[in-house]
Every structure is written in structure tokens, then in C-alpha cells.
């Protein structure tokens, strides 16, 4: 098992505001799982950062790909 969280799935989901969102599932080294919903901008950025053109390509990507390109205020 890898020693950091990885993406294990991504599905299109209906957002509260009626927009399509990406529901990304991550698995952590202890076996725990978490989901985070991201908007279109972040979703397409994630696909670009991972160099994939299909959602299935996100599987196995490290969690930090999700932060790449994000305009952070305190962490790089």
C-alpha cells in the first residue's frame, strides 16, 4: 500500500446549485476513504494536471494533483 492518499474514483454528480460536479474519492494509507466534490473549473484542472482526458484516468493519481494549480494562500 502506498504511503499517501490516492484517487480511487471520480464520478459526475449533481451539485446543490444545479451544476455538474466531480465527486472524487480518495483512499488513505490506513484504508480510510473520503470524498470531495469539486466544481467544473477544479475538475477540468485536475484532469489537465493528471494529463488525462477521461475520468477513469484519474484512478491511482496522488492526492496532491488535486492541489496543483490551486491559488494557495499559505501552502505551496
Amino acid at each position: 500500500m502506498r504511503d499517501e492518499a490516492v484517487i480511487v474514483g471520480a464520478e459526475i454528480a449533481a451539485g446543490h446549485d444545479g451544476a455538474a460536479e466531480l465527486l472524487v474519492t480518495l483512499r488513505y494509507p490506513n484504508g480510510g476513504r473520503a470524498q470531495v466534490a469539486i466544481d467544473a473549473e477544479a475538475g477540468f484542472a485536475l484532469m489537465r494536471n493528471c494529463g488525462v482526458s477521461d475520468l477513469s484516468g484519474l484512478e491511482g493519481q496522488p492526492w496532491r494533483r488535486m492541489l496543483e494549480g490551486a491559488e494557495t494562500c499559505s501552502m505551496s
Binding site: 499517501e4 492518499a5 490506513n30 473520503a34 492541489l67 490551486a70 499559505s74 501552502m75
Partner: protein, 72 residues
């Protein structure tokens, strides 16, 4: 006085102190790790603080900050 009901174990979290940043919070809750490692762990457990707001990583007083990964 609340009845003595045992709550199931859920993921532990804290809320930030006034003026706290993710770095200072990481140092507070994960003192045995290097600053960089602690901050990275905290970020990986709290993606909601990075992905659902601008600027990403801006710590808000009302934030729930998980201090452990999702329960396995």
C-alpha cells in the same frame, strides 16, 4: 445534564484558534513531524479547505480541521 449515551467513534477534528494558519495549526497538532510533513498531512486530510474556496488554504474560524485521516 445530557444522558450518558456513548457516541460512536468518528473522525477527530479541531477548530482553529484566532489568527491561526494551517502551518501553525499543523505544528500544534502534529508536533513530532517536521513542519513540511505536518502541513502536508494536514492538507491531505482537509482537502475541503483547498478545493472549495478562494484563495485555497485560507483557514477560516469556522473551519472543521481533521487531525487524522478518514477512519479505516
Amino acid at each position: 445534564m445530557a444522558p450518558a449515551v456513548r457516541l460512536s467513534r468518528q473522525r477527530r477534528f479541531i477548530t482553529p484558534e484566532p489568527g491561526e494558519t494551517l502551518e501553525t495549526l499543523a505544528a500544534r497538532v502534529l508536533p513530532d513531524l517536521s513542519a513540511n510533513e505536518a502541513a502536508e498531512k494536514l492538507a491531505s486530510w482537509n482537502l475541503h479547505i483547498f478545493l472549495l474556496r478562494k484563495p485555497a488554504g485560507l483557514l477560516l474560524g469556522s473551519d472543521v480541521v481533521f487531525i487524522e485521516p478518514p477512519l479505516g
